[in-house]
Amino acid sequence: MEYTVGNIAPIILSPVIAFVINAFFGSKLPRKGDWLATLSIFISFIFSARVFGDFVFGNFATDYFIHKTFTWFDLSYGANIWKVDMGIYIDNMTAIMLTMVSGVAFLIHLFSTWYMDHDEKHGRFFTFLPLFTSAMLGMVISDNLFSLFCFWEIMGFCSYSLIGIYVKKEKAGDASLKAFMTTRVGDVFLLLGIVALWMTLGSVAYVDIYAAIAEGKFAGQTVMGISLATFTALCIFLGAMGKSAQFPLHVWLPDAMMGPTPGSALIHAATMVTAGVWISLRMYPLMVLGDITWFIAVIGAITAFGAATVAMVQTDIKAVLAYSTLSQLGYMIIGVGVGSYNAAFMHVITHAVFKACLFLSAGSIIHSVHEQEMPKLGGLRKYMPYTHFAMMACTLAIAGIPFFSGFVSKDRILGDALYFGFMAGQNPLLAIVPILGFAGAGLTAFYMFRMMFLTFYGENRMGHHDSHGDHHGHGDHHGHEIHHEHLDARQNVPLLILSVFTLGVWFAGSLTGQGIVKVFGSKTEWFKILVEAPKVERFVNHPRESFGSTDARVKAELPKAVYVHQTGYAGPNPDEHKIHSAHVIGAILSIIIAFTGVFIAFLMYIKKSINPLASKFPGFTTTLENKYYFDNFYIDVIIKKGLLGLNRFLSWFDMGIFDRFAVDGWAAVNRVLFKASKWFDNVVVDAIGVDGTGVAVNLFNLVLRIVQSGKIQFYFIMLIVVLASYIWTVNI
């Protein structure tokens, strides 16, 4: 059970080594080092699986954790001691997250060796992807907010580089700049929160924050009038909103699709965007203390519903998936907000799996058909059976169809949201959270199946100018002739593996996920019993172990997770039966809504009995199409007019006025003085010169002209005469 540097470091370091090697010698390696990147991810997957094995199969109690630190640097001198410690903090959540991240990353690496095959940015892509994965793993495993922030920003940098990898495209530049800046807005507030926490509590390690909450150290502290807990919780959540693209800061995610698809699969679907949810989960006790959970829930609800509405009208396959990621993230944030800690985390995992799979299958479509616009696709079912199978599985999962993982996690969130909105005695306005949640679920089902029907079913609109209707294989239409997809190890295998994990049974141990039809018996509700909101009182004065030390206790005596029928609801007052009834109603409602969504999509796109949305309410669809005008509002109004205007004014002020008057002004003053003195000098001197001594001057000139005879001897004489006269006068 000992976790020395030896078996934890490879998880983060092996991808970093791959990054370094690819960065410097990438072009020289065969296939530009993509096998090296995939291998390094596989190594970190192995090690994280080992951790996963220890924790999950040894099913430790939710509050068992391993916390080892080392000193990064210390500034202590004389009396005041001040050190910055770094370390690892592993508990059940970390173990699950590590495995998920490295597993999904490995499959995506495998897929992208196929996808990026003859793309000229192949080398660069395989340099940044491992760096990103190591940053994500580092963030997951780090024990304090400061090192989390460091990895957080490195992830931001990798996403910046991957979005902007096709430097030729101007739009890629805009997209990467927008992505980095919007996330930077969030990160800056996160840093502020970390600084505030650090300087009041003395350390930002999770253990210390939980202990401080338990001991009530936050009581009196205020920051600029706001209570410390609320201030820091809000700052940290702002950071999370930036990174997880929640409502006000969501504009960057859809544009992030400029990057290569597997890149956005890993970063903008599976891992990075969930970092915001991760930090909210870790800091959940602080959020509760600062009582901003209602705010989180509302933001989540708005994002979930808003993104779903926009997704309905998108034509580009990747855009649909981007908006669906936005809305699923909204659901996770709702989960955190309403207090269903366990379901939120489960949704993170399930979403990562099926969204990665969706993106990869979209990638395989785009790569083989070189076309992203859905209206130009269609009827690919015959050509790409494996991709179709994987995509269908994931769509079923995301739409919330029973027996699938999406249903399990989303339904629990919606159930808790229902309880939170109506039964938990919150103020009535918060009821919109479940309403928007359920509405969003319906829309999700609708737009996901719309995408499926448009791409895979109906007639193939590929050779649209193909006059004689039905396509006949490799007809005369030129360009993108579709070849039948054979079972390519690197293209389809990752998809199929991922689609296998979209089944609900993995996570809930019961077919429907509600414990109604138990598959492997009740004890296998493993996910629910392992992951719980951190109980802060356990962390009071918990001794710190340095990296060298090993845990004395034998594996058997470690605190085990005992299966008790918990609701997984960490909300303020868990009255059992109310939650249970909320869950049952929630489950029924979400099933009904999911199927209606699918049915409408079916009618609209297969049967074509209802004509598509655009005709019904055109005004509304156009607003949806340009994303509620958020983008141009941000760009044109805030950035262009506000910021740049202000800057141009300031720089004009700085150079034009301040520099000219305050500084060069002195020079001007001198010039004036100089002129005045010159004028004074000429006037006064000339006046005297002219009237009084005119004649004397002429005489003087005459004498001077003679004296200047040029004869050396004459000068000598003058010298002697002057000397003599001097001696006479001084009378030595």
Partner: protein
């Protein structure tokens, strides 16, 4: 081994003499002589670093020789933690600048002679512990800078050179008044010019009468010293000389100007203004913090609106030095250490930015991101110059403050330092950090992304020499970003001592 400081101080002068002696025609030997001198100085400074004992806070490698004995002025030099970093940075930057000015053509001999003279005077300012010696070096340093900008500069270089000279000179006059006042106030005794002896708040309750009104000695002369150093830093109201000087200065000179010369201002605060007038410093800390904050925000906003790359980076230096001032004003362990670390990190990262602009300037001979007539100056550089882009990215993200690179550690420390005392300032300064990222990345986008601009068609990528002199900076930026302890261990003793001194008031 005690004489190593003298060697570092006087080796550049020997080099200069060597350069002057080589005939004008043999340009290659001139360059070689300068290169050899600067590389030996670099080796010596590395040796100095290895021999530096990080436990004690007092001066090391001290040399004290009576110079003008009537006034008890002696040639008194020595270093402690803070100066150790600056000495190493100085040696490193000059070594790199010699390599980067390989393509200078206009009367080469004078250029390299002045460069070496500048190096020795900068070493002098950092090592001098005697006020007189400090002031002499402070003034002499202006001379080579004036000529380097005035002769090898850009279009209206005379204006910039004169403005630079007069502005700094104006400040140093006030400093001279301060020095003389201290000389008399300490009773013209043996140690009246020795900076170390004057430290420790000896003049807390002195009074001084000026034009009939009595002032507290410390406050008045703190503000005199403040003015002298603030102009050099540059702090907000006194910063307008920097953009002019940077835009007109040749690449190597503006690297040195940004890399080392700005740090003399803050070094002045750390060595002279704060320890000698601790009471006044503590009283003035709020004002300094506010000024620092304005520099940060103002610098960042102005940088955002610039169309000239060099002016943009110049304003970014104003913003970064504003952070250093904030760190100094905080007077806490984290704040001070952060400030000194930021001095070093800003030195390396801005040097990289200026060198990269220089490399580009050598190819394009103009510095416009967006030309005055609105057309794009550059565009699509990333596709044409891949090596250049990667190094540019490292430099840019270092000065942006991306964790994992050196810029972040110091900025984080400064934020930690100033939080307790100036909470509102921290919140606003965070915006500066944000805008800092904005203008750099926006510039990066406008220059590097998009279709290849026809103008930059025939630029060729960086040659071996240019890559060679960028490597040390890249390594420094990355290595000190991941483990900053080699830098922090050196400075924490002396900074800690200063913080203890200031905490007593």
């Amino acid at each position: 081994m005690n004489g190593i400081l003298n060697w570092i101080l006087w080796l550049p002068v020997i080099g200069m003499v060597g350069v002057i002696l080589t005939p004008k025609a043999k340009e290659h030997t001139i360059k070689m002589v300068t290169l050899v001198t600067t590389s030996i100085t670099l080796l010596l400074s590395v040796l100095l670093y290895l021999k530096f004992d990080t436990t004690t806070a007092d001066m090391q490698f001290v040399t004290k020789i009576p110079w003008i004995s009537q006034f008890h002025i002696n040639y008194f030099i020595g270093i402690d933690g803070i100066t150790m970093l600056m000495a190493f940075l100085n040696a490193l930057l000059f070594f790199i600048c010699t390599l980067s000015s390989w393509t200078v053509t206009k009367n080469l001999k004078a250029y390299f002679a002045l460069l070496l003279m500048l190096q020795s005077t900068v070493f002098g300012v950092f090592f001098a512990l005697d006020f007189f010696l400090f002031y002499v070096y402070w003034e002499v340093m202006l001379l080579p800078m004036f000529f380097l900008i005035g002769i090898w500069g850009g279009e209206n270089r005379e204006y910039a050179a004169i403005k630079f000279f007069l502005y700094t000179f104006f400040g140093s006059i006030f400093m001279l008044v301060g020095i003389i006042a201290l000389y008399y106030a300490s009773g013209k005794g043996v140690d009246s010019f020795n900076i170390l002896a004057l430290q420790g708040g000896k003049f807390v309750n002195e009074q001084v009468v000026i034009f009939g009104k009595t002032f507290s000695f410390e406050t008045i002369f703190f503000w005199f010293m403040f003015l002298g150093f603030a102009i050099k830093v540059p702090v907000f109201p006194f910063h307008t000389w920097l953009p002019h000087a940077h835009v007109q200065a040749p690449t190597a000179v503006s690297v040195i100007l940004a890399g080392v010369l700005l740090k003399m201002g803050t070094y002045g605060f750390l060595r002279i203004a704060f320890p000698i007038f601790p009471q006044a410093a503590v009283n003035a800390s709020t004002i300094i913090a506010v000024l620092g904050l304005i520099s940060v925000i103002y610098g960042a906003f102005c940088a955002m609106a610039q169309d000239d790359v060099k002016k943009l980076v110049a304003y970014s230096s104003v913003s970064h030095m504003g952070f250093v001032m904030l760190g100094l004003a905080a007077m806490t362990t984290q704040g001070m250490n952060g400030a000194v670390l930021q001095m070093f990190n800003h030195g390396t990262s801005t040097a990289m930015m200026f060198l990269m602009i220089g490399v580009l300037y050598e190819r394009s001979h103009h510095r416009w991101i967006v030309k005055p007539d609105g057309s794009k100056g550059y565009g699509g550089l990333a596709t044409k110059l891949p090596k250049y882009t990667t190094i540019f990215i490292i430099g840019m993200f270092a000065s942006l403050g991306l964790p994992g690179l050196s810029g972040f550690i110091s900025e984080a420390l400064i934020f930690l330092g100033i939080y307790q005392k100036f909470t509102t300032i921290t919140v606003i300064a965070v915006v500066g950090l944000l805008i800092g990222a904005a203008y750099l990345l926006w510039m990066f986008k406008r220059m590097f992304f998009g279709e290849v601009n026809p103008e930059i068609e025939e630029y060729e990528d960086m040659n071996a020499r240019e890559v060679f002199y960028m490597i040390p900076l890249c390594i420094a930026v990355i290595v000190f970003g991941i483990f900053p302890s080699p830098l922090l261990n050196v400075m924490k003793a002396s900074v800690g001592q200063l913080v203890d001194l200031l905490s007593k008031y």
